[in-house]
């Protein structure tokens, strides 16, 4: 696993999923924005999808903000009200989110934070650890972690204030579209959900992404252009709520908005406490792991398939998914194949191993991506044109 303390601006920019999580913390001033955002979210959650567009959200946010402004003279409340009101005139959420300027500004400010605040924020928002996990890893009291987070976030806010001319609404308005918006109300789901669930599972302007056969959420900062957009689909089995968040965040961002997410992609699931940073398989071990997974796919052996998976992987991969994969990919594997290691990439939270499968029938090659977190398999993906054809 990557050393969290070394995360720099580029690291942060290349893996933008964390920004949405961090934006919630930045904008959600406990006394002000959080209440407003909460109420907007709750209200939106209860409304039909067609009524939860930006104008409607902006109107609700504005009204809520104005209510609070009237009841208090706190500066932050006024600013947030102004920011909410500005939603009606600024660019669309997609354009705003796609504005790499704010991404970069936030990433730079975080990267420039003094220690231990940077490390704590990176661990919390970039790597996805809980406060309790951070406390355990750093061997410090939980309360210290929470204080560092609060102080770190406050410092980022102040720095953004400086960059944006001491007018908080400038950058708050730019970050608001990053905040999660609930999915359309579905029949039988009228009850309100806890905020944390909304934040984690529902994304502003985007439904959760599913993959056709594997039905698993795929991920990562992925920019696909041109032919790959329409051609290179595939099946993946991958764990991690963060993966969905990353995909969703990318989905609403400018360049990526026009891109597709039924594409091969992998991202690490949030690191798990039991994983051992720095430890992990070598190339030969990874090849053995792959062989076991492919064998399990061929035999539709669910227990074998998840035996070396992380907890998140086990939770995300259901027997039915493997059954589908086994039916389609397994048939192709049965003709005979030769795996070749293509190397590995260091990624936040682990290692991405790449393999080429050449089939005995002389058909198209397949690309296998296997993500390991320590010794555990945290993600698995096969891009095999023939399997895609079978899925159709």
């Amino acid at each position: 696993m990557k050393d969290s303390a070394t995360a720099n601006t580029e690291d942060l920019l290349l893996h933008a999923g964390w920004l949405r999580r961090f934006a919630v913390a930045l904008v959600n001033d406990q006394d002000t924005a959080e209440d407003i955002v909460q109420e907007v979210l709750v209200s939106a959650w209860r409304r039909p999808a067609e009524n939860t567009g930006r104008p409607w959200l902006a109107r609700v946010a504005r009204n809520l903000a104005i209510d609070r402004w009237r009841s208090s003279d706190r500066r932050e409340r006024r600013e947030l009200a102004a920011a909410a009101a500005d939603l009606g005139t600024v660019a669309s959420p997609e354009e705003l989110v796609g504005d790499a300027q704010i991404h970069r500004a936030v990433a730079e400010v975080v990267a420039e934070l003094e220690e231990p605040f940077r490390q704590t924020i990176v661990l919390r928002f970039f790597q996805g650890f809980s406060s309790a996990d951070i406390a355990r890893r750093l061997r410090i009291p939980d309360g210290t972690v929470r204080w560092r987070l609060k102080e770190g976030i406050d410092r980022v806010r102040r720095q953004l204030d400086v960059r944006y001319g001491e007018v908080r609404k400038n950058w708050v308005a730019a970050l608001l579209p990053l905040l999660p918006r609930p999915a359309p109300t579905r029949p039988g789901r009228e009850g309100l959900r806890p905020h944390s669930r909304l934040v984690r599972t529902k994304i502003f302007g985007l439904r959760p992404v599913t993959v056709a056969t594997a039905a698993a959420l795929m991920a990562a900062v992925i920019v696909m252009v041109g032919a790959i957009v329409s051609r290179h689909r595939g099946s993946s089995l991958q764990s991690g709520r963060a993966a969905a968040e990353d995909v969703a965040t990318q989905a609403v961002s400018g360049a990526q908005r026009a891109l597709r997410f039924n594409l091969p992609a992998l991202a690490p699931s949030p690191p798990e406490p039991e994983s051992q940073p720095g430890a992990g398989p070598g190339q030969a071990d990874a090849s053995s792991l792959l062989a076991e997974l492919l064998q399990a796919i061929q035999g539709n052996a669910y227990d074998d398939f998840v035996a070396k998976g992380s907890a998140g992987f086990k939770a995300a991969v259901q027997p039915t998914m493997l059954r589908g994969l086994s039916t389609n990919l397994g048939a192709h594997l049965a003709v005979g194949y030769q795996p070749t290691s293509l190397g590995s990439l260091r990624r936040p939270g682990g290692t991405l191993w790449l393999f080429r499968l050449e089939f005995a029938d002389g058909g198209d090659d397949a690309l296998v991506s296997m993500f390991t977190d320590g010794w555990q398999v945290a993600g698995f993906f096969i891009d095999d044109p023939q399997t895609r054809e079978r899925e159709k």
Partner: protein, 132 residues
């Protein structure tokens, strides 16, 4: 066999083993020079934020599917990091649906994480480009 003959035989065997041609060490895969040149040109175009340069070696399909807005979005994410410098390592290639998919690992200077680049070619032209 006498001891002398045995020693001679062993010595000759050892010499033969020493002089026998060895299996060459596994070398890193090498991308065709032309393909790597195209990739570098596209990366440099992202660095320079030049839409036209990016599409210099693209086929009609890519030109049609990549809007200027998409390209600008790509630049928004990657121009600044790339300008810090980068290192490419060719990982290999695949044959898929009449195209060649070339894979590279790109490491941004000063960064620790590595990113996968795909360049898809068809009939010698850039057919697709992806950053993962």
């Amino acid at each position: 066999m006498s001891m002398r003959n045995l020693v001679t035989c062993l010595a000759v065997s050892a010499l033969c083993l020493t002089l026998a041609p060895r299996k060459p060490a596994l070398a890193a895969p090498v991308a065709p020079a032309g393909v790597e040149r195209v990739l570098v040109k596209m990366i440099e175009a992202v660095k320079a934020q030049s839409y036209d340069d990016f599409l210099t070696d693209a086929d009609d399909h890519l030109k049609t599917n990549l809007s200027r807005q998409q390209f600008e979005g790509l630049c928004g994410l990657y121009t600044a990091p790339l300008r810090k410098g980068y290192r490419l390592e060719h990982l290999g290639q695949l044959r898929q649906q009449g195209t060649y998919v070339y894979l590279w690992k790109i490491t941004i200077a000063g960064g620790q994480d590595e990113t996968l680049l795909r360049l898809v070619t068809k009939d010698g032209k850039a057919y697709g480009f992806a950053v993962q």
